[in-house]
């Protein structure tokens, strides 16, 4: 079974560093939680190929991802902001998940429409991103992630700006997508209730280290001192 391993990983940026030595089960859903500046987003960026580790390896299914560029990694990263190109319509933004040059045939456009329908945006295709709410933009980004069909889905707090009800709705959508696609999910969050909602496992990032994943319920019910200090 395909598994994501971070083997002796060290990310160094000036005086700051983060170490990680852990593995994620295939098809698992894991939350990344920890204080601001601890390195949660940087860890996702490294897995996605945007940050080069100083040492160690990121291995997927036995294969070191180091020589593989961001486009060819088995990864889709949904950013906190700026997930859409403002000058492209919703359907063209989603279509980029199939071909970056947007040379799509009729079948491709049908897949785009189906992906939009899957995230609850049926008929939104011709709209401009500026005409969408924050939640709708996040859904568009998820629709594109669906079409990319990569086995690892990384979420860098894309729902942070949404209200509680809408965020819960989006998390349920993510959980459904993950369950249908079988993708391995790794999600940055600041909120324990988000982790409880869709991530059975949680990685605590603090003190320059990403700890191996532990059961979310146990960690949050009886947090270790560093996590307790963060949760307040």
């Amino acid at each position: 079974m395909a598994v994501l391993r971070l083997e002796g990983l060290e990310i160094v940026q000036g005086d700051w560093q983060l170490r990680a030595d852990l593995a994620l089960e295939p098809g698992s859903a894991t939350a990344l939680i920890g204080p601001s500046g601890a390195g949660k987003s940087t860890l996702l960026a490294a897995i996605a190929g945007f940050v080069e580790p100083a040492r160690g390896r990121i291995v997927w299914n036995g294969r070191d991802l180091a020589p593989i560029g961001p486009a060819d990694r088995p990864v889709t990263l949904v950013f906190q902001n700026h997930n859409l190109f403002a000058q492209l319509s919703v359907e063209r933004n989603v279509g980029l998940g199939l071909r970056p040059d947007l040379r799509l045939d009729r079948n491709d456009w049908n897949r785009v429409a189906a992906a939009l329908a899957n995230v609850g945006l049926d008929g939104f295709g011709p709209r401009a991103p500026a005409a969408l709410s924050g939640g709708e933009r996040s859904r568009v980004a998820l629709a594109r992630a669906l079409l990319r069909d990569r086995p690892i889905l990384l979420l860098d707090e894309p729902f942070a700006a949404l209200g509680p009800a809408l965020r819960a709705e989006m998390l349920d959508l993510v959980a459904r997508i993950r369950s249908e696609s079988g993708a391995t999910l790794l999600m940055v969050t600041h909120l324990p209730e988000d982790a409880r909602r869709i991530a059975p496992a949680t990685i605590v990032v603090e003190g320059g280290r990403a700890h191996p994943p532990g059961p979310t319920a146990t960690l949050l019910d009886d947090p270790p001192p560093a996590l307790a200090a963060y949760l307040g």
């Binding site: 996605a48 945007f50 560029g69 961001p70 950013f79 998940g97 970056p100």
Partner: protein, 525 residues
């Protein structure tokens, strides 16, 4: 609303009103004088039509070439990290401060008939190059404006969120896709404003047209005004030309203001963004070539000024030092006036903005963009001529006109800081009852000092290097350093001109650096 009204005290209101009155007198007065002096029904003769045509053509070609060359240069700077990048970005600001006459000297040394390029071409049986006329005017304007557009574009690139390039990398965008989907929207937003700004600057540039243009086929409207006053003493013709120039520049300036988001003088250039699409050998070579070409194009003329200037120091006539002293005096006076007027206007505009108004006052402050020194200068000449000897008032008139010309840059530096101080700290200061001098010292000044230092340095450098209205007013025995340098060049005393160029550029840069560094100092609040 009541709390907002307290943000401006009586003293500040008086200062604002005085500044507004003085700026109005210095701009509207000359314009009214021009309108009254222009004889109705006189029309345009062939020489005026030719000047109009040449003004527009050279501005169009200069702006097009500047923008076209700035795109690859800015893109290379935006996506490459290399040692010296920060220095290169800083040096891109230098041509804006460089006295035009010094730049012309450097360009002639590289591109002239006896210049470096002609020397390289000679063994190949090519050349020599002729720099005078349209090619020289365009070359000099590109030298000044290519760095300005490059900086504007660089700010545009820096404003693209890093996530967009990461998203592009994740989606496997080719360089072409990045260009069309990410860079083209930014270019569409920035380029029209940049083009119009450069077009305007080229329309109102006098020193370049005077030294590298000339002759019936290469005379701009500004040079024609100069000739009408200095050679023909035809004030009616000068007034007509000045009104035409003002009308054209107003249209272009209003377009530029509408289109230009930022003047590109501030920060915001950032570090180069990591670009996965550009990790290709071919693109690396292309970017390296663009950067080397940019560095050579800008650096060689500056180097030529240094190389020729040092031996030229020995050949300096004594008049250089009296001219330098006059230049310093005029520059410092115009700077003091520009900053005082700018601060008064900025306070007034900001207070009006808080009430959702202030655009009319702002337009006054920016009139220096539309009314060139020659338009104001010609108007002042007509105002002064019946009551005093304009030639005897060369220094104060030059200082006053240069202050109005520097005002748009001063306002653009000060206003954002004032607005930020009001919007960020205004309510807190209101709630604590902070007013008057204490409010200015503790709340406003810490935010204002840095842009104030920059604006003062900029105004001083522009005043020091100005070769505009002084050429119109100065009698033969009086000269600022740029005017003296122009006279030395016209008399083919190139060695002395080189020495004067070095003195001028040193003084200009020193003035800017002194004020700018003062602005960056710690604020004792």
């Amino acid at each position: 609303m009541a709390s907002r009204a307290r943000t401006i005290g009586l003293g500040a209101r008086l200062a604002g009103a005085s500044a507004l009155g003085l700026v109005a007198a210095l701009t509207l007065g000359p314009l009214v004088a021009l309108a009254l002096r222009a004889e109705p029904g006189r029309g345009l003769g062939p020489a005026e039509w030719s000047a109009l045509r040449f003004t527009l053509v050279q501005a169009l070609v200069s702006a097009t070439v500047s923008v076209a060359l700035a795109v690859p240069a800015a893109r290379a700077l935006a996506r490459r990290r290399f040692a010296g990048r920060a220095l290169m970005v800083t040096l891109l600001g230098a041509p804006f401060l460089l006295p035009a006459i010094v730049a012309v000297f450097g360009l002639v040394a590289i591109w002239g008939r006896a210049g470096l390029v002609s020397g390289v071409l000679a063994p190949l049986g090519l050349g020599p190059l002729d720099i005078y006329g349209l090619p020289g005017v365009v070359l000099a304007h590109v030298f000044f404006n290519l760095p300005l557009v490059t900086r504007l574009l660089l700010q545009g690139w820096a404003a693209i969120p890093a996530e967009q390039f990461r998203l592009a990398a994740q989606l496997g965008f080719a360089p072409r896709d990045v260009l069309f989907q990410i860079e083209a929207p930014m270019l569409r937003a920035v380029l029209p404003g940049a083009f119009t700004l450069v077009f305007l600057l080229c329309m109102t540039s006098f020193a370049v047209a005077l030294t590298l243009g000339g002759g019936p086929r290469a005379t701009t409207i500004e040079v024609a005004i100069y000739q009408a006053i200095r050679f023909d003493f035809d004030l009616s013709r000068a007034a007509w030309l000045a009104l035409i120039q003002f009308g054209l520049c107003t249209v272009v300036a209003l377009t530029a203001l509408r289109l230009a988001a930022d003047a590109g003088f501030g920060d915001g250039f950032g570090a180069a963004q990591r670009r996965w699409d550009a990790d290709r050998p071919g693109l690396r070579v292309l970017d390296a070539a663009a950067l080397v070409a940019l560095a050579l194009f800008l650096g060689l003329p500056l180097g030529a000024v240094l190389v020729a200037g040092v031996p030229g120091l020995a050949a300096l006539p004594a008049s250089v030092w009296s001219a330098a002293a006059l230049s310093l005096g005029v520059a410092l006076a115009s700077t003091a006036l520009a900053v005082t007027l700018g601060l008064g206007l900025a306070v007034r505009i900001d207070a009006a903005r808080a009430r959702g108004r202030g655009r009319a006052t702002e337009a006054f402050g920016l009139v220096g963009l539309a009314a060139s020194p020659f338009v104001i200068g010609a108007g002042l000449f007509i105002v002064l001529h019946p009551i005093a000897d304009p030639f005897a008032l060369a220094a104060p008139v030059t200082a006053a006109v240069n202050a109005v010309m520097a005002l748009p840059f001063v306002l653009r530096s000060l206003l954002p800081a004032l607005t930020e101080a009001r919007s960020v700290d205004g309510r807190l200061a209101d709630s604590l009852g902070m007013r008057g001098v204490a409010r200015f010292r503790l709340v406003v000044w810490p935010r204002l000092r840095r842009p104030a230092g920059f604006a003062t340095g900029l105004a001083a450098a522009l005043g020091m290097g100005d070769l505009g209205v002084i050429a119109l007013f100065a009698p033969p025995d009086v000269a600022t350093l740029p005017l003296l340098m122009q006279r030395l060049m016209a008399a083919y005393r190139m060695e002395a001109a080189a020495g004067a160029a070095l003195v001028l550029v040193t003084l200009t840069m020193a003035l800017f650096l002194v004020f700018d560094r003062w602005g960056r100092g710690r604020v004792a609040a």
